[in-house]
Symmetry: C2
Subunit: 334 residues, 2 copies
DNA sequence: CACCTATGGGTAAACGTTTACCCCTTCTCG
DNA sequence: CGAGAAGGGGTAAACGTTTACCCATAGGTG
């Protein structure tokens, strides 16, 4: 049997109340008793039972987070930043992976809520199919959406302005003289995919560029980038530039172009989105839209804390402006 | 106030015991009462309180996992596989990131143990500095080490035979005629780094190859691969082959070589380790040692379950043989 | 019919904390 | 010197489940 606070109190010759007060620092206790309790705890090897504590207090000092797919390298970067922030306030993060599946996402959300997390950070899998899960979670605990959001549901969100971000990429290749611009991204399930697509169309239209260039929508994976590349190669002529929905797609695309001896940026310009770790290691290094991970994380925790204090706060949606990072895939300087 | 099992029982006109028995299926209850309980629960929107349940039963149906750094793409692949396995038995995974810091690692381990996880899966940050954390965790809950292990401490482990794996890579480049072989990896903090280094030295020695080629030990990061590349370029002549401690390093190295117009595989052969998602997208596609993630995960859960059943089982250490994946960075086909 | 067992139900005691409430002592100040 | 406040201690009641234990009934068996 594990050693409980009762054992500690007994050994220290005080009541459990006093022991608890010393151990949690919830009230002043005379130094001599405090010392006795501490040594008793240490010598017995006392370990706080967080489950019992959570049951009594109704708080766990734990935040849950659900990402669509931990294997997508953009998400770990956010997770790391969030974790660092939480650490500052002594809270722990429990991370779950939805495996791109709204059913699993719902299970995870329930598992976290069942365990009474103090808040939930979620990157919803789908703009529509995740709505029920989000709604249920919001009933139970403070929730903040990051990066992606569920459409037509009022809940806090913080992310980058995707629409604007892709706009930056398009403007950039246009300024380099591209007129026939293709777009390769994921199908419009998630808000990110939707917004990025919208951003592309908006700027293309604004410049009066041809609308018959390829718009290929698959998944946010490198494999999709590869097959999209093959598809474009099959239906010549090649566009002047390919704007990709994220870096993974762009990297897959670059790999296939390379294999087929298409030169980037000489034959075609390529841009990505996210600025993941490997973007600068791609061949050629990838011009991309950077998401400021630290800033997203900071804002996310701020929103979550605000909502924890007041559940009835008006819904907040924070869109951070992304920035373009020019590298060699669009001929940028080294 | 949330709706409790007491409310459900009342609404259904049964005792809390019966309600609990229906809801958990722990004992037979007459169909008519069961139905009443279920409808009552549904209509009240009853939600199981996992914290209270955990306190009473002493089990949480939750497994904790700690990885050194979620940003290292090898770990997410293991996490995904582990999560899929756990799902089959209806358990949830709580994932924590140690940020490559044994202090944080300890905090995470304690946080998980405090929350009474039923078991802990850990990839220890350090072969020596993580020992105390591991020892403490083992006292509290079943633990399995994956991939890396703590030295001189008897605890279950499952991983790949790193020593053998690097051996495969060295044998491969030797068979292609390389005699001057460099090794770029991480400093010998972790068991992986140690074993991989040992594998390199063993095979190099066995073939009587020169021992004065570079052995550069830094971190498991791409940036280190870059600077190692620069270092080798500074002290000509270039080796015939560079065997890297993981894929990230190799990818960084490839990037720098490319920038400096060193051709791979014509001027120098390069190999990696892990076979992460990006290995085949590198330029050129990377020859590497594949870690069988699914198999690791399966074995890991098997060990954990065995240990949960019997804490006094003899310690098990399962080393899985890795396999070499030949790609173009050593002139491989395709 | 007497007895034994199986079945399904309820009561209430845990699980380990935290904290509302109460009490006693000591100090402050008019 | 008395009233009031402040400080520090204890008792015991929560928190929401699960389950050991008990009881009543029904059915089976000699």
């Amino acid at each position: 049997m594990a050693v409980t606070i009762r054992d500690v109190a007994e050994r220290a010759g005080v009541s459990v109340a006093t022991a608890s007060r010393v151990l949690t620092g919830s009230r002043n206790v005379s130094p001599v008793l405090a010392e006795r309790v501490n040594t008793a705890a240490r010598s017995l090897g006392y370990r706080h039972n967080a489950v019992a504590s959570a049951l009594r207090r109704g708080r766990t000092n734990t935040v849950g987070m659900i990402v669509p797919e931990i294997g997508n390298p953009f998400f770990p970067s956010i997770v790391e930043a969030v974790e660092r922030r939480l650490q500052e306030s002594g809270r722990d993060l429990f991370l779950c992976d939805a495996q791109q599946d709204v059913t699993i996402e719902r299970r995870r959300a329930r598992a976290l809520a069942d365990r009474q997390v103090d808040g939930l950070i979620i990157v919803p899998v789908s703009a529509t199919e995740s709505r029920a899960t989000l709604a249920e979670a919001v009933q139970r605990t403070p929730v903040v959406q990051v990066d992606r959001y569920v459409e037509d549901y009022p809940a806090d969100w913080v992310g980058v302005n995707d629409e604007l971000g892709v706009g930056l990429a398009v403007e950039h290749v246009v300024s380099l003289g591209a007129t026939r611009i293709a777009f390769v991204s994921a199908s419009l399930d998630s808000s990110s995919a939707q917004q990025r697509y919208a951003g592309f169309e908006r700027v293309v239209k604004r410049h009066g560029l041809p609308g018959d260039t390829p718009r290929l929508l698959g998944t946010f994976r490198a494999e999709w980038g590869r097959s999209a590349a093959l598809q474009m190669l099959a239906e010549q002529p090649l566009p002047d530039a390919v704007v990709c929905g994220n870096d993974e797609i762009a990297i897959g695309l670059l790999g296939e172009f390379r294999r087929c001896r298409i030169r980037v940026p000489e034959d075609v310009l390529v841009t990505g989105f996210d600025d993941i770790r490997f973007a600068q290691l791609a061949d050629p290094p990838l011009t991309t839209v950077r998401q400021p991970g630290e800033q997203l994380a900071a804002e996310c925790i701020r929103l979550l804390d605000a909502r924890m204090i007041d559940r009835d706060l008006p819904v907040q949606r924070v869109a951070i402006a992304p920035s373009l990072v020019v590298r060699e895939s669009t001929g940028g300087s080294s």
